[in-house]
Symmetry: C3
Subunit: 409 residues, 3 copies
């Protein structure tokens, strides 16, 4: 992993008095005021303070195995080239030519031993250094015109980027989650499927939805047959204890690690395994396994692990497959929810797994979430909307709100 950074040109992310005043309307235990979801100035502030100042999941190492392999990642007005360079180094280069500012790579992925701007042919190497600029003015110093670079972090094959000049610490998370994440072998996984669900709602309503399961028993019939999160935790204490024992047996480390602390200098992270209902071992139509175990796991323990790294990247891992959830704000009331299904790298489609069984649960669940999040946004747009009190099953949403207000304040 390598971290280095170059300052953005414009970095006016100071909190305005207007936003401070809005933050002051917050009443602990209740939701946010309407303007947090409808005011363009808040949205622009969110982009700068949250998206361009946090660790974001950007891709999986299997997407760029060899030098010159690249993928691009887009957020707000930014585009980043994640390219494997010399000495296997993973570079996150800003996709903006230093001459007249053209995008250099327009494809979602590709292979290139050098990055050539399609406009005037300025040529950069795989590490972003300018190598050629025809007819440059006299006295031109190529070394001043490398592609700009942002921070990269890689954790068990999961690549993260961070636009911040002084990004939050990524290493402590790596140490704390290393042992319990290792058995899943994410670095030896492969992408089985990818889908994007565009949601007509502010990104915070999407994340709020993801952080609580109070809605599960009402909105997610399929999920609620399998997962125990749809009831208060204390009601499933015994199931949990039994699953923990089985998890340990198959080689997992089912500890709980929690660090989503307002104002922290570390990346936000969270790790936790919870039980499925008896007789079920995976998120599938019949609760049966849909793929060979991931990584070093030696069986099916009937649990599901929730991991969070950074504010908008979530990972859900059964014994046999994992789903990456990524929320990308596109505009004030448009958010892309992207899902990536991972299986063991040796698993073969049709032989080892059936794609429709693998993707069924989280496709149907995300389609439902899309509908309820959009209905939530419509209601929140009303002049009559007033934040109501959180239930006992929405404490993690309340915690997200606290974290968010600290982040933008």
């Amino acid at each position: 992993m390598s971290i280095s950074s170059i300052k953005r040109v414009s970095d006016d992310s100071a909190t305005t008095p207007e936003i401070s005043k809005l933050i002051a309307t917050y009443r602990q235990g209740y939701g946010l005021e309407r303007r947090f979801y409808t005011d363009l100035k808040v949205f622009e502030h969110d982009i700068k303070r949250v998206y361009l100042n946090s660790w974001l999941y950007a891709g999986h190492v299997s997407q760029i195995p060899n030098p010159g392999d690249y993928i691009t990642f887009e957020i707000a007005n930014e585009s980043v080239i994640l390219i494997r360079g010399e000495q296997q180094r993973i570079n996150a280069l800003v996709n903006v030519c230093r001459h007249r500012g053209s995008r250099i790579c327009s494809a979602a992925s590709g292979q290139a031993k050098s990055l050539v701007c399609p406009y005037h042919g300025w040529t950069y190497d795989m590490d972003g250094h300018l190598r050629a600029a025809r007819h440059a003015p006299d006295g031109f110093d190529k070394s001043l015109y490398s592609l700009k670079r942002i921070n990269v972090g890689v954790f068990h094959g999961l690549m993260f980027i961070n636009f911040a000049v002084a990004p939050q610490n990524f290493e402590t998370m790596q140490q704390k989650l290393d042992e319990c994440t290792k058995p899943f072998g994410f670095d030896r996984a492969k992408i089985a499927h990818r889908a994007v669900y565009p949601i007509k709602a502010n990104w915070k309503l999407a994340v709020e939805n993801y952080t609580e399961c109070y809605h599960c028993s009402i909105a997610h019939r399929e999920y609620s047959k399998l997962h125990t999160l749809e009831v208060p935790h204390e009601q499933v204490a015994d199931l949990n204890t039994a699953m923990m024992a089985r998890a340990t047996e198959v080689g997992l480390v089912p500890k709980t690690v929690d660090h989503v602390t307002p104002g922290s200098t570390e990346v936000e992270y969270f790790f936790w395994r919870s039980p499925l209902y008896p007789g079920h071992v995976s998120g599938s139509p019949d609760g049966k396994a849909v793929a060979p175990p991931l990584g070093d796991i030696r069986g099916y323990d009937g649990g599901a692990t929730d991991i969070q790294i950074g504010p908008v990247s979530f990972f859900l891992a059964y014994s046999d497959y994992a789903v990456i959830y990524r929320f990308i704000a596109k505009s004030i009331q448009e958010t892309d929810c992207e899902l990536i299904w991972l299986v063991n790298e040796t698993a073969e489609e049709d032989t080892d797994y059936d794609l429709s069984r693998l993707t069924w649960l989280w496709d149907v669940t995300t389609e439902s979430d899309k509908r309820i999040i959009e209905a939530n946004q419509q209601g929140v747009n009303s002049d009559y909307y007033e934040p109501g009190p959180y239930s006992k099953m929405e404490q993690s949403t309340s915690r997200f709100i606290d974290w968010y207000l600290e982040k933008i304040g």
Copy 2:
């Protein structure tokens, strides 16, 4: 009819100095300046001062005959559930859950003995009282979380709503128009057809168009063959006198009632019957009747009644059918013109009326209006546009402008 109200959360509808200055540019007898149709701040002010502060036609009682029947009505960011509750009461409930703000009803109409939020299952009764909220925090008082309620008025089966905290008086209109409206039996009518014509223009240009017939002889060939409004009134005085006699004979009360007074504490209303050309008795391709008489009317008098209730709801009644016109502002230069055709509740399609003959005149006329209103907006957007003088046949448009300026001032 029942009127009660709960204050909106945000109600900042004060007239800004900028808008006052714009109002001061008005020259009596001329149109409005460009910015009234192009400035987003004026539009937002219009929504608050006109749409959210006026009586709006929201539906017909036949749409919700039984307890639990509901329709939804949308304007600006607001959605209202018109639901028939206990004791046949008609409730206008704000379609926003008191928990996290989700829309509760997403369909245009339905039937429900209780209103259950699709997000977390909070449950309200047909009168909007919160009945259930799972896992609510300690000390939670359900009685504080009823659905919010806005004003409802019902006049001969026509349902109106009003978002205002202190709505204009609705009763005086009911008394003044009762006798002359009664024979049409609108409360015993049924909806034969409904169509929405989206118009790319500011709502005021649409209403201005509706309020004058100076354009009829130029733009509405079909209408002008039947209706005498396309010439100055004095030219058809004799036709009018003859029609008045026939109207009385068939049981109508063809009086003129007029109350569209700037600054009034009463709802705006207007009632007037005007003659068709000899040999015609309805708005149809050949001027012949297209349906059995409405309500208690005993024949075809060859007249057409114009009724206005509130600023954007108009009703046109021949002896055999009526058309409801509703103008709903969608954005600064997008307005939905909705038409609803009413016939007697006992009339059967194909047997008693042919839908294509019934809807022909006002479909073709509205399509023409859509075109000319959109061309009007395009021209008004020009920097070269200057309001011109109203002709002698546009006095009612001039009156609408006066009313409007008082309403927003």
Copy 3:
């Protein structure tokens, strides 16, 4: 040619302190800052200072040969009727009725002995005088309600308009370019084809692209096989000298005339002929002629003439055909690039020219330009974009920037 003008109603085009501050960020020899391409206030200022204050190519005389023939031209919120009136006069009339502001002509072209507003029938003659207004108020003076008129200039059959109250001088250009333009016989040309290429980018990025050929060798393979502009001028000095001699032989006047001077009171103009590579005489797939010579030209000299008149209208003339380029800003990041192919008026399609061979080069080249200009805008939208230095082959772009900054300052 006739020039006269009537003031626009709103003409608030003063440079704000904000824009002055932005202009002050300019560093000679480098590109413009991001906000010039992303700030709505800059765009609105551009429209007023550049588009509504410059000579714009609006059409070819062959489109309106007879009295009553008209075409319409649209820019920003404005629409102009270019109509041939009495005594063959070409009028540029604002397409806004003086009554309620409706557009009068909605078609792109037509024929009308009088202009009748489709709304209320106000009727104007071909020179814009109001002739009829039914039921006008008492004391109405028709002479005060002529259609508004903007400036028109015609140069060898090319019609230009200018919205300015005090437009830049058009005549000096006519004198200076008359001799060298005459042989092309543009006034005796006909339109062979017309195409619009919508580009998702700010208009300045499109014009910047047009003004330099540094990108040609990278982005325009087809063009670069034919045209010598893809290398520095000094490398083709001999080819140029040879072409000049041949040009003179066939009746052309290959002089260079250059007047794109910041702050000038004259229209911007430019005239220059450059050589094709040996063996090529036209912009065609094989470099062979695709049509009979234009105007009075007596052969194929193997040159191409670039003409600019006003800031956004360009003309490229081979010996056998010409292409008109017009850049019309539609929104801050949407620009229409319109191409019009001219051939001699006597040339017949299929007999004298093959349309696909005629249009091939500039269609394929413009499609490429569309792609690179859009990629340029995407990159410029980034917070990381910094203007880079212009190469030695982009001096004319640098000059355009200087001109632009003076125009808006």
